[in-house]
């Protein structure tokens, strides 16, 4: 198996952490995103959406979308379970993962595309919206507060154990803190306790 990867991007990191948790052997190939390699005809044949990461299976099939890749890997390598082992767990882990994507990742993404790093990378090729960033900055911090309240009663994002939802949340918080200027406030102790717990896992370095 081969993963088309970009080390600095947060979505491929979700897959790398998942692979590290599973202990799977995967070949990594860096894609030259700055050079537009993900929009070339060869890449679009693998993933018509022109997005990274993409997994190439041993049979030469291609799977795009981070969570879809993880779902494939979970089916091939069921242990340790990261998507849920019972019907209710499968439903609730998917629910928490989606809430994190739809209510946290979207806000961080809006702040990112309308923020200073993208301004520099895109340099005029892209019209930014400072008002949108103001709203998404605020929403991100409100969501951190919600997470802090919820984590008072559970150790991990989807319950009592580490799952895909924790990978989604950790990559979001780390990307937001390091590259978008959206670090959670210091007084959100339950959120920070969780962050310390998940960051201590060897997979977090992936």
């Amino acid at each position: 198996m081969k993963l088309f990867d970009v080390t600095v991007a947060p979505n491929p990191r979700r897959v790398r952490i998942f692979i590290a948790e599973k202990g799977i052997e995967v070949e990594y190939q860096q894609v030259d995103m700055r050079g537009g390699e993900h929009k070339t005809p060869d890449f679009l044949r693998m993933n018509p959406s022109g997005k990274i990461p993409v997994l190439e299976t041993d049979n030469g099939e291609h799977i795009g979308e981070s969570v879809a890749i993880c779902r494939y890997l979970e089916a091939l390598h069921p242990e340790p379970n990261l998507f849920g082992a019972t019907p209710v767990e499968l439903g609730q882990i998917e629910m928490y993962n989606r809430i994190l994507e739809l209510e946290l990742w979207t806000q961080i993404g809006t702040s990112w595309v309308n923020g200073p790093v993208v301004a520099q990378i895109a340099a005029g090729r892209f019209k930014q919206n400072p008002q949108a960033k103001e709203t998404s900055d605020k929403n991100t911090h409100l969501f951190y507060e919600r997470l802090n309240r919820e984590l008072k009663d559970r150790s991990y994002m989807a319950g009592k154990r580490f799952t895909l939802a924790d990978i989604t949340a950790m990559t979001a918080v780390d990307f937001a803190s390091e590259l978008v200027g959206l670090k959670p406030e210091e007084n959100l102790e339950h959120l920070w306790d969780w962050h310390e717990r998940v960051s201590a896992r060897p997979s977090a370095k992936a």
Copy 2:
């Protein structure tokens, strides 16, 4: 099992179609969304995101997010299979479903919240952005064209058979056509052939 439902909303329709395909018995309870019932403390205890639909299981657990509810139902009632039966199918159906959500539903959603129906419902409580709508209208039509090209080579959204990805696409196209003024152009024959195929299923009436 009980589904907290809003008949006119497109996301609960995804779940209702899924339930109809599976032939499962579920009790439906309408939520008074206009009256704000989904933001009351009782509802937020079931789903802290305050969104519809929510499934209440026979054990009193709650699952929010349409696809998470469907995932739970698939685990309880595996046939007919709608999420994939092999690792590659599981990955590819999730990939196509996510592409439809991230690249089609988000655009239709942007046109919806910035369009005339919401203007009337929200009546000044919400600042609309006509420029965003212009872009998302255009992106929706571009994505319809992409789907039309891809459906030349496959009968259904994720391959040779009806899956969750078709439910996601059908509810998107119907909602966009009927309520957002974004009907696919008549000349997109492969897209319309697909639409006829999925609309002919009894579940489409759900």
